[in-house]
Symmetry: C2
Subunit: 201 residues, 2 copies
């Protein structure tokens, strides 16, 4: 392959190649795991060369960080449910309740929260990705506390933090037992806590 | 190396080699993750040859399954706290409370529950290990329900399941934010639920 052909291909790949790699990461990392998905598999499924891969992502960790950011910003993705906290058509109390009304998609293998799963796989080995997850989860807890305050909770800090644990716990236990039952167990508890702290409608 | 020397070494390794490999897995899998820890690293740290490794564990998955069983049975290990549910010197209600009084070890990187982390890393890729974690977590929830019934809970099934989510959630969120604060947030909530369901002392 001549230089001009290589250049043409890289140019043609362009942003399209980067996007294909990211979409493939979203699909494979979430389903099979980050470490279980090698560069060879990623490039094969994304239809890019190894060279193109490294032109867009200098390392696997760079891709993992971009993956976390993509998961965070994708409103149709698995953490898109968190956007409920921004809905202006619901009262603050309704937003909290609605967040826990969410049911997980029916899947053969329950995979829980991809951001938490990234923390599990990267803590200690990929500090940048782990830090991105930490920031996201802390911001999410802060949004819960803020929404709890708007809903008139007597102790919004405590309610917000407890709801954050329930949210994470439903997803984590669902992964551990490969069953979405914990979402339902948490729903009733979250409703009771929200009602107790903000008073009934 | 002659055949007799190789045989002698394998024999000398014997159960000692298997134990060293397992201990190394407990240390490295829990800290750095399962997929992040390759066979090369395991054999180097455990001081065994690759050949000896495969004599004891035909595959990485076989080691991961043995790792789960070791974590389950190690009373000094990270899930040893679950043995609180068997303590005969405490009432059923005290056992439930004591389970949530537990604080995580102070560590530079918070790693949560190694069994859950194994589920995250093996769901979809190592079905045997994932099934072992699922069995453990379901049994743990069943023990919580049984203890809740002994404690006189009005709805032991619901209380036991909710406590299971709180237990898992504290560990999972701690991993996500690399901070043990969720253990404290869950403690107060667990106490409130236990007291509410079983009545004050």
């Amino acid at each position: 392959m001549g230089t001009s052909e290589a250049t043409a291909r890289a140019t043609k790949g362009g942003r399209g190649a980067r996007e294909r790699i990211l979409r493939t990461a979203v699909q494979l990392f979430a389903r099979e795991g980050i470490h279980a998905t090698g560069i060879a598999k990623l490039t094969e499924v994304a239809h890019v060369s190894t060279r193109t891969f490294y032109q867009h992502f200098p390392s696997k960790e760079a891709l993992v960080s971009a993956y976390v950011q993509r998961i965070e910003s994708d409103s149709d993705g698995p953490v898109g449910v968190e956007a409920i906290l921004e809905r202006s058509d619901l009262s603050a109390r309704e937003r909290l309740l609605e967040l826990f009304a969410d049911s997980p998609p029916i899947e053969e293998i329950v995979r829980g929260c991809p951001l938490h799963n990234t923390a599990v796989e990267t803590a200690g080995t990929m500090p940048e990705a782990a830090a991105l997850v930490e920031r996201h989860k802390r911001q999410f807890t802060a949004r819960l506390v803020k929404t709890a305050a708007e809903a008139g909770a007597r102790d919004p800090e405590t309610l917000g933090r407890q709801l954050a644990v329930l949210f994470e716990g439903a997803r984590a236990l669902s992964t551990s037992i490969n069953d979405s039952q914990p979402y339902q167990d948490v729903r009733a508890l979250a409703e009771a806590l929200i009602n107790q702290e903000t008073g009934p409608t």
